[in-house]
């Protein structure tokens, strides 16, 4: 359904996302302490943390929308924000943004063609149908409700090819059918070999991943397996790894 893989002829680097000692400060306030993280190709990762923990900052740095104060980020072997990185990475932000003067269908065409996709119509129709907004294709997405905007943003994120998908709080505002549709799209992307990193607290997604990364107050406090993990406790506790080990014992 979605064009999840870019047809790359050159040998693909094994690391989809390489975050090396990245920190970010806004004026005097640090948003992200030095964080290092590697995501291999084809992995599905849940990034979790409470409000202000640095999830969105990390995602925006990886997407090239923010510049790190220190450190480097590589996307499929290219510096984040560079043209090859932008070609490989699809970012669905927590706040959807649209043009005032384009319909949803025109948005789909524009984004697809900006990424060099000529045969986009069938994919767009499938995506919108899957998300249940095909009948709204000719409407202006800027006037949609929060949930419909979110669905539109998801459709735009999937209309283009990508190797790495970064999604920030995608389940917020979605109804149950929207959540199901998104979960299917994420699974389909993974099945196609794309790397998926989702910042969320949505248990239905967290239960499908093998790896969880937890941020708290800008620091990476847990990076490991997802099995048997109590997500809420992970976010709250001072030493989630220790707590988890204790529980296992």
């Amino acid at each position: 359904m979605a064009r999840t893989r870019r047809n790359i002829h050159s040998p693909a680097p094994s690391k989809a996302l390489l975050v090396d000692n990245v920190s970010k400060s806004y004026g005097e306030s640090p948003a992200l302490d030095p964080v290092s993280l590697t995501v291999e190709r084809g992995e599905r990762v849940a990034l979790i943390g409470h409000n202000g923990s640095g999830k969105t900052t990390l995602m925006r740095i990886a997407a090239g929308l923010l510049e790190p104060t220190d450190g480097t980020v590589g996307v499929c072997g290219n510096p984040s924000g560079s043209m090859p990185a932008r070609a490989s990475l699809s970012y669905i932000a927590d706040q959807p943004t649209f043009y005032d003067d384009l319909s949803l269908w025109e948005h789909m065409e524009y984004v697809a063609r900006l990424h060099g996709v000529d045969e986009w119509e069938q994919t767009a129709a499938d995506l919108l149908g899957h998300l249940g907004i095909y009948d709204r294709a000719d409407d202006m997405p800027n006037r949609f409700s929060r949930g419909l905007k979110q669905k539109s943003a998801i459709a735009l994120g999937f209309i283009r090819p990508f190797d790495l998908l970064l999604v920030d709080e995608p389940f917020v505002g979605l109804d149950s059918s929207g959540k199901e549709a998104l979960l299917e799209l994420l699974s389909s992307a993974s099945d196609d070999g794309a790397t998926v990193v989702v910042a969320t607290h949505e248990l239905s997604f967290v239960h499908t991943v093998k790896r969880i990364v937890v941020l708290r107050d800008g620091r990476l406090v847990y990076d490991g397996g997802a099995e048997g993990i109590d997500v809420d406790r992970l976010v709250r506790t001072e030493d989630p790894a220790g707590e988890h080990d204790g529980e296992q014992q």
Binding site: A87, H115, G116
Partner: protein
């Protein structure tokens, strides 16, 4: 054809399509009506200002001074524009693309230079056009004061427009370069300050050294003399424009994303004439944050009154750049008032507006209070009394800036009487700036009794005029507060003792300011009374209808 080329083709095609949409959706009658209104009001204003200055032709010595100093003085204006441009570039300017453009276009694999060059050219064009209008108007105003000029007013306007366009271009170009070359903010500020200092030194010092932007001022005088060396400067500007447009591809995505969100809000606020929101967004755009650590702790004696203490605490958190900016506004208004003293009456508007903008910074504690209507309504205080007490701190805060302004006026006009009249005229003028800004802040506060207010009782035509007056009268208060300088000037030209006129006119301004304070105190009562009268009128009207 690679994907990047395909993407650029899609970008161009979609831009064409969107332009076509915009043109198709345009309400032509509405647009023409707006042009008509702008031409009527703008043309009327220019004619009015022109009439104001024709009554004072320059004498021979003044014309000699004009010829000697215009290149430096205009160059100083351009230096300030370049300063602002460089700072804007260091803060992520001058472009503000749509939020969706950042998300969808700039995050796609197409060359950023190709995507951003078009908006950069648009920005360049807009500033050159605005500069040309301003320069043309200014030079033709000058032309009216030059008796027996061989050139016609059209030549004055033409060369003024050329100089203004170059000044506008330099603003944008310097911003493009500072942003594209990722020059650090401290380096940009240092270089920009050095350029302004150089130009200031040649403007006010007796030196034969040319200033870096003298060529712009010199071009504004091509109605008198043609100087081929100025073309070197123009060529340099063209070369810099070329480089500036080339480096747009190196713009920071972070800065573009930040500005895209803020600028759309800024435009909306401007549409609503919401000056407070414009000020707040402007500060966010330039990343101007309050100091975390206050400049000083308040002594116990100043903490006695809770409102005054709150206001002073706010001032103690002012960042250095805001204090510096207030000082610059004060100096600018002082120099404008000196120019008024020398006969250029319209500069009183510039002086008033500068003090109004300075006042917007000074009334920050009051504005913060107005920004939190739920909080103020929950206090066991009469809101109007709270607002009135908040006027005390801004009135005190501007005192040192008056001293700075008088010092600047003394440098320009070194005479002991400058100090005396400076303080006599300067204090009411500065407080007028505070009063205008306070009115602007308070009138934006929500009405605690609720409901729409005065507009309801008025027919639509008058209501529209009322909206304009509501927007205009805060800066008008600031401008009116600067008028004593004209009274003093006229008294001197009539050969009478100016002290009396200065005291009387300053006193009149103080009465106006007292009325403004009274308005702040009684505003809610006045509105409640007005609403009550409306209800009574509606009630009696319905009773009459039932009776008949």
């Amino acid at each position: 054809m690679n994907s990047a080329t395909v993407g650029i083709d899609a970008l161009h095609a979609m831009r064409r399509e969107r332009r076509r949409h915009r043109v198709a959706d345009m309400e032509w009658y509405e647009a023409l009506y707006r042009v008509y209104l702008a031409a009527l009001i703008g043309g009327g204003a220019i004619l009015y200002l022109s009439d104001l200055v024709t009554d004072s032709p320059l004498n021979a010595e003044q014309i000699r001074n004009l010829q000697a100093h215009t290149p430096h003085a205009v160059g100083l204006v351009v230096a300030v524009a370049v300063f602002m441009g460089l700072r804007s570039g260091a803060n992520g300017g001058p472009l503000a693309v749509e939020d969706a453009e950042v998300r969808h276009v700039l995050m796609s694999p197409i060359d950023h230079g190709s995507a951003l060059r078009h908006p950069a050219i648009q920005r360049l064009r807009t500033f050159m056009f605005s500069g040309a209008i301003a320069g043309g108007v200014a030079n033709q105003l000058l032309g009216r004061r030059v008796p027996d000029a061989k050139a016609g007013l059209v030549a004055f306007a033409l060369w003024g427009a050329v100089a203004g366009a170059i000044a506008g271009a330099l603003f944008v170009i310097s911003a493009l370069l500072a942003h594209g070359l990722a020059v650090s903010r401290w380096l940009v500020t240092s270089c920009a300050s050095a350029l302004v200092a150089w130009q200031t030194a040649v403007t006010f010092g007796d030196s034969d050294i040319a200033g870096p932007f003298d060529f712009v001022g010199s071009m504004s005088m091509w109605w008198l003399r043609w100087s081929p060396i100025d073309l070197v400067g123009v060529s340099t500007v063209c070369a810099l424009a070329f480089v500036g447009l080339r480096v747009t591809g190196r713009f920071s995505m972070e800065a573009l994303a930040r500005r895209s969100a803020l600028v759309s809000q800024l435009k909306f606020a401007v549409t609503l004439q919401d000056i407070r929101t414009v000020v707040l967004l402007r500060r966010q755009l330039s990343q101007e944050y309050m100091r975390v650590k206050p400049w000083a702790k308040l002594p116990r004696v100043l903490k006695k009154d809770v409102v005054v203490a709150r206001g002073l605490r706010s001032i103690m958190h002012f960042p250095a750049r805001r204090l510096f900016r207030m000082a610059v506004f004060s100096v600018g208004s002082a120099l404008a008032l000196v120019t008024v003293w020398h006969g250029t009456t319209p500069m009183v508007v510039a002086a008033g507006l500068l003090l109004f903008v300075m006042g917007l910074d000074a009334v920050e504690p009051l504005s913060q209070e107005v920004d939190q209507p739920d909080r103020t309504d929950a206090l066991p205080w009469e809101r109007a009394l709270l607002m009135t007490k908040h006027l005390v701190v801004p009135a005190l805060v501007v005192v040192p800036f008056v001293v700075v302004g008088v010092a600047a006026a003394f440098v320009r006009e070194p005479s002991i009487s400058t100090i005396g009249y400076g303080f006599l005229i300067g204090f009411p003028a500065a407080w007028g700036g505070v009063a205008g800004a306070a009115v602007n802040a308070v009138k934006g506060a929500p009405d605690p009794v609720g409901g729409a207010t005065e507009g309801l009782a008025l027919p639509p035509e008058v209501s529209g005029m009322g909206t304009v007056l509501r927007a205009v009268w805060p800066p008008v208060i600031s401008i009116v507060s600067c008028l004593p300088v004209i009274a003093v000037r006229e008294t001197v030209s009539n050969g009478t003792q100016p002290v009396g006129a200065a005291v009387r006119s300053a006193g009149a301004v103080m009465i106006v300011l007292a009325l403004v304070a009274g308005w702040v105190r009684q505003r809610d009562h006045i509105h409640a009374w007005f609403r009550n009268a409306q209800k009574q009128s509606a009630l009696s009207s319905s009773q009459r209808t039932e009776g008949s």
